[in-house]
Structures are given as structure tokens and as C-alpha cells.
């Protein structure tokens, strides 16, 4: 060719792409998803399928109707669908509810705010709060694993004095709860995978979980118990680390995670809501623009004013 391409530097790029990052999150969630099918059988599988496919479909339709560039291929809607499914209780009603949740998450929370990178609130957390508020009786009933639908209280709702599940059961997820918030072991394994793949950094999950443990200890609760139960692992590793709705600098992430921990521990201690994670997320999401503003990095060679 005599005609040469004229373009701006740099002329080479790293291999990382948005869809590859999202694929990594999907891979990280797979063990948890599979475990939930083992614990809750086909109901779980149906919820996952309904949630993921409706998230993809809603994003596709939204782009089609508003004549926007098709963004479904970046796989972020699949991630949202998976995380939403992990937030649903293992009941047949959740199959329908997850479709409603997908609509809230994708259309209302994500796309109407401008799509990936633009939305203020975490789509899955917002959908969960919406569903819990609107369909509270269907969202707060939990089924004990491996029992074919015997309902039970989630560990955090068990009144004082009654027998609590053992740490090992909590760790393995053999406790009543939503699809994916029970099994600490697979959630942590996925989290380690994400850190190795450099998709997430340690700051948010570790500081969030650490703050909750510390505060619940100070409040006279069992710290290990409070971090293993009630969506802490799912929330801190997969939802709080959502790029769009968390701060971009390291300092910002630390502030954000500490704030989340404070919120969650306080809600659990002083509020009536046993599931403080999703509420804390929404609250701290709203503060992210502010945190970003105050945690701008110091630029190289900047002389500090005395």
C-alpha cells in the first residue's frame, strides 16, 4: 500500500478487553452457581437461566429501541444476571421475580443512566432492594439446602438463644439463604481467581470484610459469624468491586470499603434489617462521585503548598 495509516500513539495495546474481564467474573462465579444447583436442585438452575437471559434480552432490546450501539457482547449484562440470580431465594417464585429484577437492574438502573460506566447504583443491589421492598414475603423466605424446599430462617435472622449453624456449615454454604450468598468457600475461591487475573484488587473485599468483623466484635457479636453469613462474601467480592459503581483510585477504594463496612455493621446492629449489604451498597454508591472527587491522586512533581 502506498497509502499509510496515520494515527495517534500508542500503536500497540494490552490484550485485556472489557469482555475478557467480564468473562473472568463469570468464570469466578461458576463454582458458586454450580454449588447452588447442587444444594437447591433445578429451581436454582431455572432462576439462573431466567435471570441471565432476561438481562441480556433487556439490554439487547433497549439498544435496539434507542438505536444505540449493541453493548451486550461486552458480557457485563451476563455478569449482572448471574449476580442477580445469586441474590434470589431458591423458590419457584424467584424465577418470575428475577425477570422483574432484571428489568429493574438493566433498564432502569443501568441503561437509562447511560449504560456501562455511567450508572450510579449497582444494578443487582438495586434490583434486590426493589424486590425485597415490593415482594417482601417472597424475598425473605429461605429454603434450607438439600431439603427439597423446607423453609427456614437465614442465619442472621435466627433469634438469640436458638441454635446457630456451625462455622463449617456456613463456610460450605449449608445454611438457608439465597442462591449464592451462602457458600463462602466457592465465593472466596472465585475472588482469589479474580485477584490473580488482576480483575479486582484486594482493597475493597478485604477492608470491607475486615471492618465488619472488627465492628461486630466491638458490638459484642461473633465476628467470624457475621462475615460468613448474610451475603457478606457475595457483596464484598462481587458487588462492591463493580467498577462502575466504586471509586477508581486506591485511596478512594479504601474509603469506600471502610464506609461499606461501617454501614453494614451498623445496620445489622441498630436496624431491623438483617441483610445490610445491599442497603450499604446503594448508600455508598451514591457517595462514589464525592469520594472520587476527594481522592484524586497527587500528580507527579506537584509542590505541596505549605
Amino acid at each position: 500500500m502506498d497509502k499509510l495509516i496515520v494515527s495517534s500513539s500508542p500503536h500497540i495495546k494490552d490484550k485485556a478487553t472489557t469482555s475478557r474481564i467480564m468473562l473472568d467474573v463469570i468464570i469466578a462465579l461458576m463454582p458458586t452457581a454450580i454449588l447452588s444447583v447442587y444444594y437447591f436442585s433445578y429451581v436454582s438452575a431455572l432462576i439462573i437461566v431466567a435471570s441471565v437471559s432476561s438481562c441480556v434480552l433487556f439490554e439487547y432490546l433497549f439498544n435496539l429501541i434507542t438505536k444505540k450501539k449493541h453493548s451486550e457482547t461486552d458480557l457485563s449484562c451476563v455478569v449482572t444476571g448471574l449476580i442477580l440470580a445469586m441474590n434470589m431465594p431458591p423458590l419457584k417464585s424467584s424465577i418470575i421475580l428475577s425477570i422483574i429484577g432484571a428489568f429493574i437492574a438493566i433498564v432502569v438502573i443501568k441503561m437509562l443512566f447511560g449504560g456501562i460506566g455511567q450508572n450510579i447504583f449497582n444494578p443487582a443491589a438495586a434490583a434486590r432492594i426493589f424486590l425485597t421492598t415490593a415482594f417482601s414475603s417472597l424475598m425473605t423466605v429461605y429454603v434450607a439446602p438439600l431439603t427439597d424446599g423446607v423453609t427456614a430462617a437465614t442465619p442472621l435472622a435466627i433469634p438469640k438463644g436458638e441454635l446457630l449453624p456451625s462455622y463449617l456449615d456456613l463456610f460450605l454454604g449449608k445454611t438457608p439463604g439465597s442462591l449464592g450468598e451462602t457458600a463462602a468457600v466457592t465465593l472466596i475461591a472465585g475472588g482469589i481467581y479474580l485477584m490473580i487475573r488482576k480483575v479486582i484488587t484486594w482493597e475493597i473485599p478485604v477492608i470491607y470484610i475486615g471492618t465488619v468483623a472488627l465492628l461486630s466484635f466491638a458490638f459484642g457479636q461473633d465476628p467470624l459469624y457475621s462475615i460468613l453469613a448474610g451475603g457478606m462474601m457475595l457483596g464484598s467480592i462481587y458487588m462492591a468491586t463493580d467498577y462502575t459503581t466504586s471509586p477508581v483510585t486506591r485511596k478512594g477504594k479504601i474509603v469506600y470499603a471502610a464506609g461499606l463496612g461501617l454501614m453494614t455493621a451498623s445496620i445489622r446492629k441498630f436496624g431491623s434489617n438483617t441483610e445490610g449489604v445491599a442497603f450499604s451498597l446503594l448508600f455508598m454508591n451514591a457517595l462514589v462521585p464525592l469520594i472520587d472527587k476527594f481522592t484524586v491522586k497527587k500528580t507527579f512533581g506537584r509542590i505541596k503548598k505549605k
Binding site: 502506498d2 494490552d14 453493548s71 472520587d292
Partner: protein, 437 residues
Amino acid sequence: MIIKIKNIKGVTLPHRKGTSEIPTETLPIPKLVEIPMQQHIGAPCKVLVGKGDYVYVGQVLGDTEKFVSAPIHSSISGTVVQIKDMILHSGVKCESIVIEPDGKQEVLPGITQPDISTKEKFLKAVRNSGLTGLGGAGFPAHVKLDTKERIPEALIVNAVECEPYITCDYRAIIEEGNEIVNGVKLILDKLSIPKAYIAVEDNKPAAFSLLKELAKDDCRIETVMLKTKYPQGAEKMLIYALTGKEVPMNGLPIDIGTVVMNVTSVLALYKYCKTGMPLVSKRITVEGNGVKNRGNYQVVIGTYIKDIFEYCNGDKEKTVKVLCGGPMMGTTAESYEMPVVKQSNAFLFMTPEDLDFMEESACIRCGRCVEACPMGLMPLTMNRYALAKMTEELEKYNIMNCIECGSCSYVCPAKRHLVQSFRVGKDLVRKAKVKNG
């Protein structure tokens, strides 16, 4: 000055330094050369010869009275056939002199070792040599070395060569290491600088040991190995990596007592001081899948890219992009008719497989650009403001501190054209400054 090795922020790049063990070959004198009158930062040179004049190798072709400028010499002997206007690949317009060689390479009569007996005379000689910063920007060397009353605590010799593909500095060290070390000694002597650090990255161990060996009897010179990281070759980054000190914003290396020179600059200066022959040819790396005979070549300044391309067995069907410089900061040549200038260090003839073409998508706020930026900037935010043309915000986010290293664009998973938008943004800020006085 004590060294305190620090890790800089930035990115880890593929090395692709496949030409490093190929000895430098001299390219034959081409049929025509074209020498632009602006090959440096500062005032352009005025043409001092006329059409039809016979010129010698080393003869001054253009110069100015201005301090921030550097004279330009003929790289061949022959006849001036044309004086014309041209556009450099930086977009700058200037005059250029086209010379047809007579093939004799006759050296200007009377060329001899310059008088460098005092500091003033030495600096004068640096100017006469036409030397400019050969590492990148092309800042006239005498301006940089003239630190007025302030004597630098250390001379930092940049042998980092952190861009992929480029190996010409490495070849210079392997082939002319002795001259380089002697050049360092000369500069230390003439400017009474007490210490010199030669910085090499750890992907070039042979260069490191050679320099260390050659400089071992001079305790003023220390060769330092740095962990390979891009953009460690950028002046401010290199000083930080070695000393832990930050050059102040809008400041110069001398503000913290350092002067940085590229290895090839040191070499060129040494040669001039020994022979009086100014910088008329350059060692350049020729690479990329568009050419067969990759390697390093000594070429006279003014040689057209097409002559290099032909000599190296280039394939025009395959080549889609010609880079002047490395893949991270290099500019693209608009045509094969561009000449080699003083700062040229590489021509990369890229085929689609060498490059990454990817469409831009929405920023996902992953923060990778923030983590990668060696200058501590917020690329994602600057990108948003640059696209919205919000000049005040851009200034507030210190866009002028961006060194256009490309680390942010390199890591961005959404493939956003960050650096490109910063160039536009910087222009906006500059224009606003002019407007407001």
C-alpha cells in the same frame, strides 16, 4: 547526590528487541537527500546556501542567531538542487534543502577539533555541533547543559531504551562503548559535575556489564541497573527511578540538581569534540514485519524512508503503517518521502499483525489507567473533560503534566483513545492561556 532506586508506575511491555544482536550496517549514500531546517525544539534555521551551491560533509546549511536552536549541517557532499517547503511529521512546516550527492563524501576543508579549553568554549562547541536531545524531544543540547551558576550534582546518562523494538542505543553501547564512557568523562570534566550515573534496564545485561567494565577506573561514574519498566526512559521518570526525587511540575531536571543526556547524545558530542565532525549520520533500528532485513543501520541525515525501506527489502503490500520511533510514543509517517532527522532512532514498518487495531468502547471505570499513569494523573476523567472541551477542568486535573507516554491507552480494556484526546485537551489549555494572556 545519592542514588535511591525507586519503582516507577507504568506498564510492562513486550520487548520485541529482535535486532539487538545484529551488528550495525552502513547504508549506502542515497540518490538524493532532503535536510529540513527544523530538527529541534526552538527557532527554525535560516537557509545559508543557495540552489546550485556545492556543499561538503559537515558544512553548515542553516543556522540562526537565536539561543534555543541548533545549526544544521550537510550530511553529504554534492550540489544543492532545490530549496523547498515541507511539512514534518509533527505537522510543523519548515524549509528544507535537497542535495544531490557526488558520491565522494568530501569533508569540509579545515574541519578540526574544536577548542574546548574552558566551560564557555565547550558550550559554544556543543552548540556548533548541532547536537539536540537524541532521546526524543530534540531539545538543543547546549541549552540543556548550560545550567548557568548552578552546577549539577549529577549527570544522568540515559541508556534505558524502554520502547519495544528499538535497539540502536544498545548497539551504540556494544559497538562504541569506549567512546561513550570517554564522552561521559569529558562532560564531567568540562562542566565540573562530580558524579555520573549511567542507567541501563535489566533486559540489557550485556550493555550493563560492558559499561561497568569500561568505567571501572573512574570512581565518578556509576553504572546502575534498573528493573525494566515503561516509561523509565522518560526524563522525569528516570530521575525519579534513580534518586527518588520528583522534578517539579513545569520545572527542569536542573531544579533538583540533575542533567540528563541520552547515550547517543554523549557519543555524538564526544565524536565532535575529537574530530570536529558534527552530527551528520544516525544509527537507526529498522524493524517490523513489513521489512525483511531488519537490523540497525548507520544512515546519513536526510535519507528518505523509501531508500531505507528498499535497501531493507520492504514489502509495500504488507506495510500499513510506518512508525518514526517506538510503538508507544512514535509518530506515523504520512508517506515514504519523509527524511531521517537528528532525532530519528527507528523506523518500524508495521503490518496488521504488528499492531492492535481495536474499536473504542465505553469507559468501564476499571481504574487501570489511573494505576498505570506514571505522572499520577486521572486519565479517565481527563478523557471525559477533553471530549467535552472543558478547559478549566482539564487544567485542574493537571493535563499539562501528561508526558503522552501512552501507558494509559495501552492498558485500557475499553481501548479508549486517551492520549489522542489529551493532545487535543492540551491544545485547548494552551490556547486558553494565550487568550487570557
